[in-house]
Amino acid sequence: MNYHPGHDLLEQYAAGTLPMPVALCVSVHMGFCAQCSAEVNALQALSGMLLEELPGVPVADAALHHVFARIDRVDSNTQIADARITRADDVLPAATGAERSSTAAAKVPKALRKLVPGGFSKLNWLRVLPSLRIATLDAGCDDYSVMLHRVSPGGSVAMHDHRGLEFTLVLSGSFSDEKGVYTDGDFLLREPQQPHRPFAAQHEECLCLAVQQAPVRFTGFFWRLLNPFLR
């Protein structure tokens, strides 16, 4: 793994100001990267110290009692909720052995588990090109589209361009474009007007998390994707 989010992105991630879909990509990268995790941990420590140094603003006398009242109210319900969470975790289905692809075997990172509850192979994959399947995830954000791209071994994606920023995170397998070779955990940021043509590696399928800013409408997106000569 050679491609990391820049310092600015890690800073905004630590400050909690990064749009959620972008933070999702950074978070998944951190699962692969001890270096970026350490940098974020250090930035969070700095933030904790800055927080401690803020000139405090007095809170109402009743505020502590309010907190205790809410704690007491919630206490009786907590045990039921906890039990429910444990049960939900238990039923997470494992990838089926029948499907022999790296996608089926790929572990779902914690940051993605709510969007991919049954494993990658259980998603609703749409074949948009002979070598490309796409699953759209509902991240509840209008400004970004969050998708998973699954490229067949040796497959290529038509030359494409995008209006906004495009974040790509390799979850498994590898792909290459004009600029380099990308493997598990690599984090890529493409600016608009940087058309590129990605190829998956010959020997295995490539699974990527793709987050795009200001996506065009679905039909438009597919239409552009299917039209290699369109910019």
Binding site: Q35, L43, L51, G56, A139
Partner: protein, 208 residues
């Protein structure tokens, strides 16, 4: 940091299992207080609340809000402190200082409340994307993190005021570099270089 005698490091000596624990509770008395809170100690929680609630309120008040209803900061204090109470037993002094841990909770609650204000929904879980603790970190990373915390705490004392100012705006007010530039009437490049200088001084930039 004024602490009552009961919450000094000595009260937790019994639970000290390694030299790193001992070092940590010497430099971070609030870690020891959190340890008591984990055992449902309401007096200890009162101490923690008295110390951190005014700062969390200040953190909430500094937030750039889409609308200016004054309840945001108070709600942030409530939500953060309730989570501190509920999660205290999962706080690990080996992984991070108490203020780091409390910051991550307050930050996540701020994201959550801002999302609710903007009526954003969606399946994504904030704590999944911004984990409160680094679960993947092993003993080596934990040791490194504690050394980093100590180094940052020391070098923060000598940081030039202009550099501290941009750090406060970025991390406490949650402003982007261009928003900071507008607020301070400085060129964007100056803001960026100030932040880089501060990071270098605190040795927070790791070469990749």
């Amino acid at each position: 940091m004024a602490l009552p005698r009961a919450f000094t490091a000595a009260s937790t000596r019994a639970t000290v299992t390694s030299i790193y624990d001992a070092k940590n509770s010497d430099t971070d008395p609030w870690g020891a207080v959190l340890h008591c809170v984990a055992k449902q100690d309401r007096a200890a929680f009162g101490q923690l609340f008295a110390h951190f609630a005014p700062q969390i309120k200040a953190f909430g008040l500094s937030t750039v809000l889409p609308d200016r209803s004054g309840q945001f900061a108070d709600e942030l204090v409530q939500e953060t402190m309730i989570t501190v109470w509920n999660k205290a037993s999962s706080y690990d002094a080996m992984k991070a200082g108490a203020s780091t841990w409390i910051f991550t909770i307050a930050r996540n609650k701020r994201i959550d409340l801002l999302r609710k204000l903007k009526r954003h929904s969606g399946m994504l879980d904030i704590d999944d994307i911004w984990p409160i603790e680094d679960e993947a970190a092993g003993p080596f990373q934990n040791l490194q993190q504690r050394l980093t915390e100590r180094r940052v705490r020391e070098s923060l004392k000598t940081l030039p005021p202009a550099q501290r100012e941009v750090l406060l705006m970025a991390f406490m007010e949650g402003k982007s570099h261009s928003e900071i530039a507008t607020d301070l009437a400085l060129p964007l490049g100056t803001v960026k270089s100030r932040i880089r200088l501060a990071m270098q001084r605190l040795q927070l930039i790791l070469e990749k």
